[in-house]
């Protein structure tokens, strides 16, 4: 029972990362409640695919990338792997940059020193902590972001208006340029909620935690409840953007600025809680992206993998996640603006979203591989509907990026 509770809280706390935080707050600041329905669509999407990933792991005792090569073939699987790893490195870089920005708010070291410190911290955390502790510490720490849920409720007492905005609609805007920007934000927000590393990490985690076919029901419960609650955090960020930042003419880029919305109501204590929550969310995401990339590589090539094995027995897997942290840190140390890295990581994630999820959809729906646990009609219909939606989003992403001058307007 406690395990179930912790699983839900971990899923909820691990839902938000820096790209989602930035795009959600800005979506609210720019378009009010106009993009809330996209958050709802994204939440349902990650629930559908997260459930599939967990089910595959529970039934087959194998995580998804093991099966991708068998199901989709070597060539297609390799392209998926390379794309997924590249995006994971970029996302990890964004999170590391954001951690450095957050730590800089507390002590006056140069930014680059904080970046290096963040890398060391993350490597040590993964090296020393057992897998369950990693999941728990960063997942539960991310729950501090619930403070934004409180702020959202204070700032937006009219729940009816919020609820109505979940119905898919396009608000009336001033110009074609604004409509293009709206479309760009819709695509980016959807991508930031449905980041594939979440589903793949969840599936490898289920194998690390030794799930069995009897855990399929439990998987469904954790995914639905945990991700719904997690998406509430995303919704809260949009509301805060709309109710706090829009009237003040702010479109925040920096995590510290986002945290000031909490300080207004809860002073220094609130500020510390908000920043603490951001740190755990970003660090958790950095770790998940690195491990997810390492899982993918090791599983695709059939190497021993997993934090349940001693590091020297799964050497190449260990080198893989170390390499991701080092590469990601190198990207940030080039001096590129971390805010830009965040934006590009989300945009490139959209582009490979359908590629990342199609193999999962095929594996989860294959009766030969999954037996009676293959996708039922709900999972199949929703899975394919989302595949179409994600393909449209993936193809529209780059043109929209260009037409909106890099997402600026």
């Amino acid at each position: 029972m406690l395990e179930l509770f912790l699983g839900i809280l971990t899923a909820m706390g691990g839902f938000v990362e820096v790209g989602e935080l930035t795009f959600a707050v800005n979506a609210g600041a720019k378009f009010g409640y106009g993009l809330l329905w996209v958050a709802g669509v994204g939440a349902l999407g990650i629930i559908v695919y997260g459930e599939m990933a967990g089910r595959v792991a529970a039934v087959r005792g194998q995580p998804v990338f093991n099966l991708i090569r068998e199901r989709v073939g070597f060539d297609a699987g390799l392209v998926t792997l390379v794309a997924a790893v590249a995006v994971n490195v970029l996302t990890c870089a964004a999170e590391i940059g954001a951690i450095a920005l957050v730590w800089q708010l507390f002590a006056d070291w140069p930014y680059r020193a904080w970046v290096a410190a963040a890398c060391v911290f993350l490597v040590l955390a993964v090296w020393v902590l057992p897998f369950q502790w990693i999941e728990r510490v960063f997942g539960l720490g991310g729950l501090l972001l619930v403070v934004f849920l409180v702020i959202a409720m204070i700032e937006a007492p009219d729940l009816g208006e919020v609820g109505a905005a979940f119905v898919p609609h396009v608000p009336s805007l001033e110009s074609t340029q604004q409509y293009l920007l709206y479309a760009y934000y819709a695509v980016a927000l959807l991508s930031s909620i449905m980041l594939p590393y979440e589903a793949y990490f969840y599936s490898s985690g289920a194998v690390e935690d030794r799930w069995k076919p009897s855990d399929v029901g439990r998987n469904r419960f954790i995914v639905v409840v945990g991700f719904v609650l997690g998406s509430l955090l995303c919704v809260a960020l949009i509301v805060v953007g709309a109710q706090f930042f829009a009237p003040r003419h702010i479109e925040p880029q920096l995590p510290g600025v986002v945290a000031t919305s909490v300080a207004v109501h809860f002073g220094v204590a609130g500020l510390l809680i908000a920043i603490g929550g951001m740190f755990f969310a970003f660090a958790g995401a950095a770790i998940e992206t690195a491990l997810s990339a390492a899982y993918g590589i090791a599983q695709f090539f059939g190497w021993p993998w997993g934090r349940f094995r001693p590091a020297h027995e799964a050497s190449r897997f260990t080198i893989a996640w170390l390499a991701v942290f080092v590469l990601a840190t190198a990207v940030i140390l080039t001096g590129v603006d971390p805010v830009s890295v965040v934006e590009y990581s989300i945009v490139f994630s959209v582009v490979i979203l359908p590629l990342s999820y199609l193999p999962l959809l095929l594996v989860a729906g294959d009766r030969r591989l999954m037996g009676e646990y293959a996708n039922g009609s709900v999972a199949r219909v929703l899975g394919w509907l989302y595949m179409v939606l994600l393909t449209v989003a993936a193809l529209a992403a780059i043109p929209l990026l260009i037409l909106t001058h890099g997402g600026q307007g």
Binding site: V72, H249, P252, V264, G267, F348, Q408
Partner: protein, 152 residues
């Protein structure tokens, strides 16, 4: 069945690959050109936002809601962003009919100076009050300026 799927996956990969090539082409194009005139409204919008963020921080300092080292660090993170906006405005000023840029650039200079002053006096809430007042004036001038510069 696998061959049929593999064909669709390959088509998807080609489409995605073309998207990525397009993105890289765009990035190269942006790096090479950068037309200040057509994107002036973006620069003004960002400047308005940075000014409003600075105002919020000054407001928080004056109300003793924000710790001093947070204020200093935040000012330090905002400064280079404001500086690059000022540089973009300076470049736009040289173009024809760029009255908005000419109005905004001195405001961006003043914004930088005010944030520096705020950082220096971060532990004295009373010192933040006049800074907050002046920042409010800057925001009030930038809001209509940014709005009118928008296309459509």
């Amino acid at each position: 069945m696998r061959r049929h799927e593999a064909r669709w996956v390959r088509r998807l990969q080609v489409a995605v690959g073309l998207s990525i090539v397009g993105a890289l082409g765009f990035a190269a194009f942006v790096a090479a050109s950068g037309e200040p005139q057509s994107t002036l409204y973006i620069t003004l919008g960002e400047l308005r936002s940075r000014a409003a963020e600075s105002l919020e921080i000054a407001h928080g300092t004056a109300a003793s809601r924000l710790p001093a080292n947070f204020v200093r660090a935040q000012a330090e993170q905002l400064a280079p962003r404001i500086a690059s906006l000022r540089d973009a405005l300076a470049k736009a000023e040289t173009h024809e009919g760029a009255t908005d840029a000419r109005t905004a650039r001195p405001l961006s200079e003043r914004l930088l100076a005010l944030m520096q002053a705020l950082a220096e006096r971060a532990d004295t809430p009373s010192a933040a009050v006049p800074i907050e007042r002046e920042l409010r004036g800057i925001v009030e001038r930038l809001v209509p300026l940014a709005r009118s510069a928008r296309p459509g």
